[in-house]
Amino acid sequence: MRVKWMLTLASFKMFFRQREAIIWSFILPLFIVSIFAFVRFDSLGRIRLGIVDESGGRSADLLNALEQVETFRTDLGSRETELEELERGERDLVLVISGSVPGDDSNSVLVYTNEEKVQETQIGVLVLQRCLDERLLQRTPLAGRIIVRAQPVKSRNLTYIDFLLPGVLSMSIMQMGIFGVAFSFVSLKKRGILRRLSVTPISPADFIVAQVATRVAVLMLQIALMVAAGMLFMHFHFEGNLLSMFLIGVLGAVVFLSVGFAIAGVSKSEDQVAPLANIITLPLLFLSGIFFDRSSLPVFLQRITDFSPLTHIADAMRAVAIDGASLLDVGPQLLGLVIWGILACLVAVKLFRWE
């Protein structure tokens, strides 16, 4: 036990003395996320209006009229779901048409507005007002002006950062597992360091345990650091439990560390590691919803990448981070990761060689 501990300490020390390792595992992910922190993909476009119709179909013509308005992208839903969307920042306004239809049997209407989207809600309320006024003008007798009552709601306006940060974390787990392990083991092997260790009484397992423990520790640091930096500097909306994030990270790390050991097993030099590692990581990177939502992929690719281990990590991390999902909620993803982990371990044990 002591040997494992000492080896872990030593390899931890070595890890932090490696400038490249620090850059790859801490600086680069932060850099990627912070670049995108200043890009707002969602700033353009129409105002998102949610409509809750509780009038029992009596205001169908009003709904029609609103859908025709260019300024709005309308969504129809129940009060509960629309308000939920508003809180998540998916709506700028939610118009509630209650039992009384504005203009017919009421002269006021309630609109919930997204507190932070000042510009959108101001325009939205104005347009809404005009719509209702125009509708009234078409009738006789004039029923008087309709008052739009705005009710501001505090929303978490999720941005691209909220999508990207858990994705980039998932990416670094994969990169550390595959590149970190495969390159460093092949180099240890080639330089005869593994051979030198094999004439000492330690077992290979001791050494592997130390290597894995080091990387798992680094990974937890990575998660904590990224989440903290995201919350402090980039308005990352972290609703989740850090321990759940750790657990997802560790399960993901088991998968990709095993892949790394398998690659190290079949490669004789660093030159052979690079293509193998890239063939595995690049498609996963672009197809597992790391930078872009998978809904923009063709359907058959979506069905295939439903099974990608990186998808599991990213989806689970996102659910926990943004929606505050519990481990139970992300059970399917965790199960997927466990299955991948077992498979990858078996392959690694089969392929890994000391010499």
């Binding site: 070595m14 360091i193 030198r196 004439v199 009484p201």
Partner: protein, 253 residues
Amino acid sequence: MPSPVLHVRDLSKKYGDLVAVDGVSFDVEREEVFGILGPNGAGKTTTLECIETLRPFEAGEILLDGVDVRVNPQEVKRRIGVQLQSSSFFDKLDLSELLSLFGELYSRRVDAVRLLEEVELEDKARSRVGELSGGQKQRFSIAAALVNDPLVLFLDEPTTGLDPQARRHLWGVVRKIRSEGKTVVLTTHYMDEAEVLCDRVAIMDHGKIIALDPPQVLVQRLLSGGFKRERVQHQASLEDVFLDLTGHSLREE
């Protein structure tokens, strides 16, 4: 008479069709420096690697301090110190950290400073292996092989590639280790080195031992057979000239 510390009987090792070691037998006594000589490919390194538990072998028996290498390799590993022909070390730790770590692999707390003194590297405790010269690297490699206070120290071509000064420096280190009661088994293809360092040498060729005796005995036997050098032997060699001109002392730094 005490039993030999290393007992090798009828050792054979094949790589596919190639017989690398072919029925080799020898004993190494306690506190001697035993040399294995021979041209490249003679089977010296393979023989050592079989003893060091690094390679499985087809036939024969190896006992180290009475422990069978095949039956209990872990126990053998605890009793030997090994310098491999081209071993390197973790490059992000300094010498003293490396020695402590290697000590831990044997569950021992080592006095890194004393070990470095042993190989005359005490002023390099905070250096990394990458910053050492060839001779210093080899001496450090010996220090790392001493962390477990081994009964037998194996050195595989410890002076290959070193300049004359560094070679002589390393000889001094080997003599000192031997004087402290350790047994040393080394391979070399420098005959002068074997003559100066070894109590007995085994000469290997094509996987077999073709001679085994103290160096002086081997030389006498050759002379008594009527051997004469073609050129008249000078009292000094070109290496003596080189050392006289450049000095005996090391200048690695």
